[in-house]
């Protein structure tokens, strides 16, 4: 059936079954491949996007539930990689393979929007849903603190 989604400020009409996970609609129907498939059961965080500004696992969220919301993916976090987290990620050379990093950055962005100056415990609580097999965790933590500094001027 035809559903209309608002992704990164643009309206998209897609013909999919309503139970299709948002992840596959973003990737296959809309062509936004920055959001990654990792587990399909909301246990790795690679698929993290924002729905109405809040963190969501797009691999288990039915697309029908996303109709009428504002969806933001890594491609829409900023136009030119200028979000404080992206600047901090580049400054700290955080990614290794990079596959999980879209989800890491989106999870961190949701955290910063709630807590502009997160403590290490806040970061543990907010980022433990996201697996990184390369082990960039220490650098993710440092970059979140650095992004908070950048955002705070």
């Amino acid at each position: 059936m035809a559903l209309t989604l608002n992704v990164n400020g643009t309206s998209h009409t897609v013909d999919v079954e309503p139970e299709t996970p948002l992840l596959w609609v973003l990737r296959d129907n809309i062509g936004l491949t920055g959001t990654k498939y990792g587990c399909g059961i909301a246990k790795c965080g690679a698929c993290t996007v924002h729905v109405d500004g809040k963190k969501a696992f797009s691999c288990t969220m039915k697309v029908s539930a996303a109709v009428g919301t504002e969806i933001t993916t890594i491609e829409g976090l900023s136009e030119d990689s200028s979000h404080p987290l992206q600047l901090a990620w580049i400054e700290g050379d955080v990614p290794q393979c990079g596959y999980c990093q879209s989800g890491q950055i989106m999870a961190a962005a949701a955290l910063l929007s709630q807590r502009p100056n997160p403590s290490d415990l806040d970061i543990d609580a907010a980022m433990s849903d996201n697996i990184c097999r390369c082990g960039t965790y220490s650098r993710i933590r440092e970059a979140i603190h650095r992004a908070a500094e950048i955002a705070g001027g």
Binding site: T13, R27, R133, Y137
Partner: protein, 760 residues
């Protein structure tokens, strides 16, 4: 939608239009400031190739081709640094792309490279295109530096010819050529340089002359990895592409008995179903005498094709299927390990072969009244790459294109060519970024399977394995079990040492010609003559006991588990002797041992002491792998309720030389996380012949709240030593943590994972 020819120089990708439909777009380079394009195979346009490794544009930007695979270890930065060190180009204008593997298999090394002694005539163009064995820098640095040096001298000669001066009067620096009052950019002389032959090729720099190497420049691949533009295999988009979901026999070696496509063929978007393979487990046949080596056989299963992946997957899951278990239905991990333990318990089992022998350890142990014995076990493991396995192909009558993140593009070409029925020259593998590899992506079973599907379908198709399918089709790190016996003197110092090892052999599985007198050298890495310790009498015996499961190289290979057993037993000996485990090791190492310095450096970094409160412990683990020694000292706490926390890891590394210190630190952290994940949680159970842990709800991963502080200490010996970095930091972490747990609690961990042990 029109079909357009896809070739190396003008690759077309689809991009999302504002209206939400798919449109064709040409991925144009956006300038030299984009150090890496999102699609890392994107060919350069408009520049001048000076040699196969590098292209110089009129604006002086330099594209350097990378033969290794970028899976996080940093080759898209490190390999260009090796070339640029000699080329003397402007590093801020360097761009990295993948070297073309089709060109590699069709061409031999360039004559200048042979003349310089940096390649053999029979080497293929890019020499070493497989990424593994922690070999990127140590095995390619000489020819990459030669490529840069030989190009530089040709640029200087071109300028000298233009200016009427001698080449020796021309200097090259930061992308500029100059002599007296003349100067010009590399870009102005690149075309002339490409046609120049030199009488002799220049020598390359020695480490004391490095200026770029040894600095922690920004990684070139970071920008595309923070905005979603980096293209991994799973992201490849080809015009007119459809999707395949696959399921193969859950028991390796089993097969598909039947399936009922009629039950799902009318579901939305469903196009076709194909029966896959004829059984077998997709063995990689590895042969050093061939350019590439082949995966033979496709596991028996079925693919469902649809216009989107989710539609294909849903139809596949709903489609009735029957499987047989290949006769392995009664196998469990317990039955496999128990079989191995039976061999381990019987020193006279005929399957043993000697791997190492000094003096007469067995007689000394038989005669001694002071013998320590212990048995250690380590389980099967999955690589659990972050990116599930996938491959996109387009097979036509005279050409096959393959988009995949692979650690071994020549092997991928060979697999695709054989399955497509085309010569390798007509197969093009477009390597993508790898969402980790860890060894898994060096075995192109997914490429062969996808090629078979693409050939049957006749149009572009993206094959994605679910996480569960990726896990069920794991090519596992083998289990290994160990028995140790040592006869000690009155002071507890071992006089005789006898170690028996039984494992599932990777060599026996896929490279039987590499077995030497029954010994799989990887399975006894660090245990045979490579033992760090000095025993007057030592005997090491090895026996192969395989199962039906396919096994493959997993990060750090044999060392990943051997160090856990050896370093645990050494720690037991130290404690039995009432000795300080640090001093006990130092006393047991030969005087000239290369382990001494990193051991002392790690211990100092950790503030080594045995005087800690109950519940706190320091533990040592050390190993040499891929030419590099790493020593870890772990500091752990164990609460009264048995809750373990690994607080810090002091990691000392001697890899000889370092070309990018920050990336070495990142690899040390990465290895600690990968190794600690396995040590704490890693275990694949087998039930009814099949893998049990098929997703992250059961196969647990270390997360940010469990991350220890990793402090890397460089203990570099320099000289001729060039060791690897991507794996050697893994083996010491499990024993360091297990030994620290003993120090904290008195509980000895002799089997992994640690989560199976009660620490109260």
């Amino acid at each position: 939608m029109t079909t357009m020819e896809i070739d190396r120089r003008t690759f077309i990708v689809t991009s999302a239009s504002a209206a939400g439909g798919l449109m064709l777009g040409f991925y144009m380079p956006t300038g030299a400031d984009a150090g890496v394009m999102g699609s890392p195979w994107t060919a350069e346009e408009g520049g001048q190739e000076v040699n196969a490794w590098l292209v110089i544009d009129p604006d002086n930007s330099v594209t350097i081709r990378v033969g290794q695979s970028e899976m996080g270890e940093g080759v898209f930065t490190g390999m260009p640094m090796l070339v640029a060190e000699e080329l003397q180009c402007d590093w801020s204008k360097v761009r990295a792309v993948y070297a073309d593997v089709n060109r590699h298999v069709q061409n031999f090394a360039e004559p200048y490279m042979v003349a310089a002694g940096a390649a053999k005539e029979t080497d293929n163009l890019y020499q070493r295109m497989g990424t593994g064995g922690s070999g990127a820098v140590r095995r390619s640095r000489l020819y990459l530096m030669q490529a840069g040096a030989s190009a530089r001298e040709r640029l200087k000669q071109a300028a000298a010819d233009a200016w009427g001066v001698d080449r020796s009067a021309v200097t090259a620096e930061n992308g500029m050529l100059s002599a007296g009052d003349k100067s010009g950019m590399f870009g102005e002389f690149a075309a002339a340089a490409a046609g120049i032959q030199l009488e002799s090729e220049p020598a390359i720099k020695t480490p004391d002359q490095f200026t770029l190497l040894g600095t922690s420049v920004a990684r070139l691949d970071t920008p595309v990895k923070v905005n979603g533009s980096a293209v991994y295999g799973i992201d490849a988009q080809v015009p007119d592409m459809v999707f395949a979901a696959v399921e193969v026999a859950p028991v390796p070696g089993g097969s598909l008995v039947s399936y009922d496509f009629d039950a799902v063929k009318d579901r939305p978007g469903v196009i076709a179903a194909y029966r896959l393979g004829e059984g077998g487990i997709g063995v990689l046949h590895y042969n050093l005498d061939e350019v590439a080596n082949r995966v033979t056989g496709i596991q028996s299963g079925v693919a469902v094709i649809a216009d989107t992946y989710y539609r294909a997957l849903t139809a596949l899951q709903l489609m009735p299927k029957e499987w047989d278990d290949g006769g392995h239905g009664d196998v469990t991990d317990t039955s496999i390990i128990n079989g191995a333990l039976e061999v381990l318990a019987n020193p006279d089992d005929p399957s043993y072969n000697p791997a190492h022998s000094v003096g007469d350890a067995r007689s000394a142990i038989d005669a001694s009244s002071n013998v320590m014995e212990a048995t250690y076990t380590t389980p099967y493991l999955d690589h659990a790459c972050m990116e599930p396995m996938n491959c996109t192909v387009h097979v036509t009558a005279d050409r096959a294109d393959v988009w995949v993140g692979t650690q071994n593009p020549p092997r991928a070409i060979a697999a695709a060519a054989e399955e497509a029925g085309l010569p390798e020259e007509q197969v093009h593998v477009h390597n993508c970024f790898l969402g980790t590899g860890f060894g898994r992506r060096s075995r192109p079973d997914e490429v062969r399977q996808a090629t078979a599907i693409g050939k049957a379908l006749g149009r572009p198709v993206k094959v994605i394995w679910t996480r569960e399918e990726t896990a069920r089709q794991a090519k596992m790190r083998p289990y290994s079990v160990y028995h140790f016996a040592a006869a000690t003197d009155a002071n507890g110092k071992p006089e005789a040492y006898w170690n028996r090892v039984v494992s599932h052999s990777i060599f026996n599985h896929q490279i039987p010609q590499f077995l030497r007198d029954g010994i799989d050298s990887q399975a006894v890495e660090g245990l045979d003559k490579r033992l760090p310790y000095d025993f007057a009498n030592a005997q090491v015996d090895y026996a192969i006991r395989d199962s039906h499961l396919p096994v493959h190289w997993w990060r750090a290979v044999g060392a990943s588990q051997n160090a856990f057993a050896l370093e645990g037993f050494i720690d037991e000996l130290a404690h039995a002797a009432g000795a300080d485990p640090l001093q006990f090791r130092l006393d047991l190492l030969p005087e000239d041992s290369e382990f001494r310095r990193p051991l002392e450096v790690a211990a100092e970094g950790a503030g080594w002491t045995t005087d800690l409160r109950r519940g706190e412990g320091l533990g040592i683990g050390m190993a040499e792998a891929f030419g590099t020694i790493v020593v870890h000292v772990a500091y752990v706490t164990v609460s009264r309720r048995g809750q373990l926390r690994v607080e810090t890891v002091d990691a000392a590394i001697d890899c000889g030389h370092v070309i990018h210190p920050k990336m070495v630190e990142m690899q040390m952290e990465s290895n600690v996380v990968y190794g600690l994940t396995a040590a704490l949680y890693g275990e694949i159970h087998i039930d009814k012949g099949a893998v049990v842990e098929d997703n992250f709800d059961q196969y647990l991963m270390l997360r940010i709240n469990e991350m220890p502080e990793v402090r890397t200490h460089f203990a570099l010996s320099g000289g001729d030593k060039w060791g690897g970095v991507g794996e050697p930091g893994l083996p010491p972490i499990a024993p360091a943590v297990a030994n620290a747990i003993f120090a904290a609690t008195g509980k000895r961990i002799r089997s992994l994972p640690i989560r199976n042990h009660d620490l109260i």
